[in-house]
Symmetry: C2
Subunit: 268 residues, 2 copies
């Protein structure tokens, strides 16, 4: 039995791609991830994703099939203040007009905050040098209705000084297996954390920001869960360095909820 | 045909009320009004209200039928940072325990930020000297996914200086018929506006705050709709003073969406 080679054949689709001389458009996207099962379109689709929602609107506006590439996927329920994605198009529409059209047609929980034409070589994912995630904890005695789904409500006192000093041991290049979900498909668990900060803001808010060259599945949420345990004095004699060195997920703290997490910056 | 007088009779319920020597509890409540048809329980109920949602949880916690009185109703879709309400109870539960129980049992979009025992004479509605509402406009070229449902997105340039100077003519005691929804049941349309401010905040946000001794149905949203028209240069030669004096709703601007509005303070 023979089947035509659909992926690498010299069929019309392949030839068309080879001739392609269109434009490369970069988007900066904000979204509330609450109602989506993450960024990336899935083969077995159970629920809508951010990617397919935007691709559908792009197809409608540009009348072409569009493949949107992001700096990286975000998980179900995770938000973004400034996700970066790009796509190639033959359309000559101006970036400003395209932005207005997208914001007019996208659902309320996805918006395009910036749009520009970039060199054809720009690739949102491969070109990303680092990404910064922020995890927000509401650390006071009572929750906030207006922040629900955007923060993790944790009403017990936390030792911020201890959390800050322990967090420093994660800086640099390490094997982050201890903070990686067991169902991750990543081949290498080695990543480099460039910055990590723990800040108290007004009204009981705590912000933990982590900048790294890449993140493993649930990595930020597992690190935050462990830092909370440390701040609460629950990790006992164990410290973050020992958890990291163990490469044992079982020694780290629980994975905190997705709603507190937001991708806030992608550096190129 | 005779029927027992259920409302003013000398039956057991009436006698019990007369003997009542319980406590008066004051709540400060935050809510996202998006999923509710306003504060007040309605006779013809189509959808849930904030009041009945809290009363149901109070009944569950205190094992008594509770009647919650607020400083005033808020309309469908309107939020509150600090609504004030009170109720009377025979329960001896401590305010702190009650707050934790309520926040544990209430849905995420309603939270109790303060709770205290107050003199029996305190009445949330009759005692309120003034209330302050804030209307938030997102005034920039593109919307925000993370602020959706909390702000009114208005992408056209606005003359804030003009809006500020015109807004001043609303200060003081006036007949606000021009800014009152036609289906309002209010007998008198006279209210006193104590403060009104128009402020530009960061990231394209504009906040219009109005403090008054009381508000007519849709009054803030109608005033804001008119101010936007003025800021946009649409009211032509007409000014806010003329609209106010006309007492004619037809001369005022449109009613802006509920999601931008929030009750932020009640003064006693």
């Amino acid at each position: 039995m023979t089947r035509p080679n659909k992926r690498r054949g010299s069929g019309p689709r392949h030839r068309a791609e080879a001739r392609w001389e269109g434009r490369n458009i970069r988007l900066q996207i904000e979204y509330d991830g609450s109602n989506y099962c993450g960024w990336q379109s899935q083969k077995i689709r159970r629920s809508k994703t951010i990617q397919e929602t935007i691709e559908k609107v792009l197809r409608r506006v540009l009348q072409e099939k569009i493949r949107l590439v992001a700096s990286g996927r975000t998980d179900a329920g995770v938000h973004a203040r400034a996700q970066v994605a790009n796509f190639k198009t033959c359309s000559k529409i101006s970036p400003e007009k395209l932005q207005n059209a997208l914001n007019g047609l996208l659902p309320e929980d996805i918006s395009v905050s910036k749009i520009e034409e970039v060199p054809v070589s720009f690739h949102s994912c491969l070109g990303a040098k680092s990404k910064t995630y922020r995890y927000t904890i509401l650390n006071r005695r009572f929750p906030s209705a207006l922040l629900a789904g955007r923060v993790y409500f944790y009403p017990y006192p936390l030792d911020l000084g201890l959390m800050r000093s322990q967090a420093k041991s994660l800086l640099g290049r390490h094997d982050f297996s201890a903070f990686c979900a067991s169902n991750s498909g990543a081949k290498s668990k080695i990543r480099t954390i460039r910055k990590i900060s723990v800040k108290r803001k007004k009204d009981g808010l705590l912000e933990i920001e982590i900048e790294a060259d890449g993140f493993l599945y649930n990595m930020v949420r597992n690190i935050v869960g462990t830092l909370i345990q440390i701040g609460r004095g629950k990790q006992g004699a164990r410290n973050l360095k020992r958890v990291l060195d163990s490469k044992n997920r079982g020694l780290a703290g629980p994975c905190v909820p997705a709603g507190g997490l937001s991708l806030i910056k992608v550096q190129y």
